[in-house]
């Protein structure tokens, strides 16, 4: 009983402890204090060095610009799509397409997109030479363009599935069918009625996920390395470059940059909040204005088009890379390779065994810890009648709102100075910070929706709380438990910075390999790596889907539960 009561506090400590300690560990060197490197007194020298870096303003502008653009693009897409297509077959189809894309690691999606849109990529090949006349890849700067357009597309394509699923989860509470029926009975078009009557209730529910998307997009490192400009890169990438520089004195500057990144994210979040208030005011005026239809066909088409484009970009990109992994000779304007074979797999496969094993071990450890902590928290909530407040949801989202690059450098420095060192243990703890919120979010809703009278009946039959948990609740909730585990596993597999920095650059996973390969541009080895990575995230989901059906194949009452 006692240890269970401590579960929520322990979970919070493990989730937020590294974030807070890491922030402190970043702030100190940003202010010149890092005894290990000879920094003993407070000074503004790191800030001055940062300000003297010639690329600073461009890096800041890129970070803010790409982050805001990607978030707005993703939110507009999801909103228009939901507004125009809720309850249609197109929606059901895209829901089935987009949901699995949530699990695809960011770097895999980015590398796939890079192959699609590159001057030598699939789109150019499909149009050449008959439409473009190109016999050789044109000299166009599409990838890593200075405005970060490719990066915006890559971020949006990955965030659209996330916001879409969050919107789907929020919809039932907004009673969309009833509200929309009333609006349409009053003469409003489908899209206009949805935007005016349903969207405000939905947005209130997805506000935290939107903030998380904004914070992530502003400070993403892996996607920026693959698709973003490099001279100068967005601020977060530059901080990581300084952190990995052999010249250790650059760590001070890196810390100052990390703190600046944190300030940027907080400032833009505040700006976004002001934007919300302004939008709410304008929206109210618009709703009260009584306009019944607003370019309905155009908005519906835009919603469907953008959502389908996002799904197609990720799916075709992965398909292209899969094809590269088995391609024989594949010259430029050809849309398909001359032949297929397993040569690339034979050549590059063996080198991936070690990183694949490391990826598996890290993900298994982080997921097992996260699942155990989540189950302990939820069980404590049930047994002691604790009521989770709205504040606990904010705490859960906190690791997703603080930019990774702001606290992971500090965590690395701290681990080193505490003598814990960098290595697998530190990396698992860093992964846990991000795996926990997702596992908790995935499991808490079905867990709380379970009918507690089952527990009362079991207790009246003489079963104690432990036996009820083991033999009634856990088996009944097997499907959502396994799904939550698969989500946690996928989150861990996709982590780049939380592997790179706490691992001191020595822990090699499929994700760190994939990012490192991006610069080389060898599509065969990229294809092999990304495919292994994708299989590694897809397999647990397949297992989570199949296992409960197999175990409970003779139990009709267990179908559709979770």
């Amino acid at each position: 009983m006692r240890p269970l009561r401590a579960a929520p506090a322990l979970t919070l400590a493990l989730m937020l402890g590294p974030v807070l300690a890491g922030l402190a560990g970043t702030l100190a060197p940003a202010l010149g204090v890092l005894p290990a490197l000879g920094g003993h007194t407070l000074s503004l020298a790191p800030a001055r060095a940062l300000a003297a870096w010639p690329g600073l303003w461009q890096a800041v502008a890129l970070s803010v610009g790409t982050g805001l653009a990607a978030t707005i693009l993703a939110l507009v897409t999801v909103t228009l799509f939901a507004a125009g297509w809720t309850g249609t077959r197109a929606m059901a189809l895209l829901e089935r397409l987009l949901s699995p894309l949530l699990a695809v690691p960011h770097v895999a999606a980015a590398l796939g997109l890079a192959f699609l849109i590159a001057p030598s990529g699939w789109i150019a090949r499909a149009l050449s030479p008959w439409a473009t006349g190109w016999q050789r890849p044109p000299d166009l700067l599409i990838l890593q363009d200075p405005l970060g357009l490719a990066m915006i597309a890559g971020l949006a394509a990955k965030e659209i599935p996330f916001l879409f699923l969050m919107t789907l989860a929020a919809l039932p509470q907004a009673a969309p069918a009833r509200r929309l029926t009333i609006a349409r009975a009053l003469g409003y078009g489908r899209t206009t009625g949805w935007l005016k009557a349903v969207f405000p209730a939905v947005y209130a529910q997805i506000r935290l996920p939107v903030y998380a998307v904004l914070a992530y997009s502003m400070s993403a490192v892996d996607v920026a390395i693959v698709l973003g400009p490099s001279t100068p890169p967005p601020l977060a990438v530059q901080v990581v470059r300084w952190m990995s520089d052999p010249d250790l004195s650059l760590r001070f500057q890196a810390a100052a940059g990390a703190i600046l990144q944190l300030g940027l994210v907080l400032a833009v979040l505040a700006l976004w909040r002001l934007g919300e208030l302004a939008a709410a005011r304008l929206g109210r005026r618009w709703a009260e204005g009584g306009a019944r239809r607003l370019a309905e066909p155009l908005l519906r088409a835009a919603g469907l088009g953008l959502a389908a484009l996002a799904a197609a970009a990720v799916i075709l990109g992965l398909a292209g890379l899969a094809l590269w992994s088995i391609a024989g000779f594949w010259g430029f304007p050809d849309a398909l390779p001359d032949g297929i074979g397993l040569r690339s797999w034979a050549r590059h496969g063996p080198a991936l065994i070690a990183p694949a094993r490391e990826t598996l071990v890290l993900a298994a450890l982080a997921t097992a810890l996260a699942l155990a902590l989540t189950l302990a928290c939820l069980e404590a909530e049930h047994r002691f009648g604790l009521a989770p407040g709205s504040r606990s949801l904010w705490l859960l989202y906190l690791p997703l709102l603080v930019p990774q690059v702001a606290f992971l450098p500090g965590l690395q420095t701290l681990a080193l100075s505490l003598g814990a060192g960098t290595g697998r243990g530190t990396v698992v703890l860093a992964h846990l910070v991000f795996v926990l919120p997702y596992v908790f979010l995935a499991l808490s809703a079905p867990w709380r929706a379970w009918d507690p009278r089952h527990a009362t009946v079991a207790a009246a039959l003489g079963a104690g709380p432990g036996r009820i948990f083991r033999t009634v609740r856990l088996p009944m909730l097997l499907a959502p438990v396994l799904t939550a585990a698969a989500v946690g596993f996928a989150v861990s597999v996709g982590q780049y910075l939380p592997t790179l920095l706490p691992g001191g650059g020595r822990i090699r996973t499929l994700t760190t390999e994939a990012v490192a390969l991006a610069a080389g541009g060898d599509r065969r080895i990229i294809g092999v790596t990304v495919l292994v990575q994708t299989v590694l995230v897809a397999a647990p989901f397949a297992l989570a889907l199949a296992a409960p059906r197999l175990v409970f194949r003779h139990r009709r009452g267990m179908r559709g539960a979770g």
Binding site: G385, R453, H454, A458, A460, L461, A463, T471, L478
Partner: protein, 209 residues
């Protein structure tokens, strides 16, 4: 003193008293508690069985066959409960549901299995042990739920509107079965209902909330 005694029970929420009950249910007797929804019937049952939500406070004692169970957790009280939903565990077979309720003291796979077969015979469901509970009819589910409760050898039975979901013909049949079994075993029964016919069929004293 045998039977179920509710001594001076006062349930309060945030200091506001909701219900006060003083009652004695003799073995084999049915005490009906009637009241509209929201009158605190279910809260009273939760207090007796030991699952009172933390928002409520309770004073008084629950005494079962001379044993003060007020401070005991639900699994140690030996009080059974039936709801309007059968709440058969969907992941277990019919036999598995009954086995869940059998006391640990009954040792041996064979002996336990035999006891389950006998229990199924008793409710006219011979050979149903391996069936999926989701495939049973409403009446069959109700009978399995009752038998599951009885196999745990409770010393008292709580009924939370247990017949309200059954159609009229089935309701009389199941009601008669439940009351007969409780009387056979000398169980004090606390019935919570808003259906006057339930209280009349029970034939015992009635408290209106």
């Amino acid at each position: 003193m045998t039977g179920l005694r509710l001594e001076n029970i006062v349930l309060a929420r945030g200091g506001e008293p909701l219900i006060a009950v003083e009652a004695h249910v003799a073995p084999g007797e049915v005490l009906s508690v009637m009241g509209p929804s929201g009158s605190g019937k279910s809260t009273l049952l939760a207090a007796v069985i030991g699952t009172l939500p933390p928002a409520f406070t309770m004073t008084g004692r629950v005494v079962l066959n001379g044993r003060d169970v007020t401070a005991l957790p639900p699994e140690a009280r030996k009080i059974g409960i039936l709801y309007q939903d059968e709440l058969l565990f969907p992941h277990l077979s019919v036999g598995g549901n009954l086995a869940f309720a059998l006391p640990r003291a009954l040792r041996g796979r064979k002996a336990r299995r035999a006891r389950i077969e006998a229990a199924l015979d008793e409710i006219g469901m011979t050979g149903f042990a391996d069936r999926d509970p989701a495939t049973l009819s409403g009446g069959q589910k109700a009978r399995v739920a009752l038998m599951r409760m009885l196999l745990a050898e409770p010393q008292a039975l709580l009924l939370d509107e247990p017949f309200s979901r059954l159609d009229a013909a089935l309701r009389d049949q199941i009601r008669a079965l439940v009351f007969a079994r409780a009387r056979d075993r000398g169980l004090p029964v606390l019935l919570v209902t808003h259906d006057r016919a339930d209280a009349e069929a029970a034939g015992g004293p009635v408290i209106a909330l």
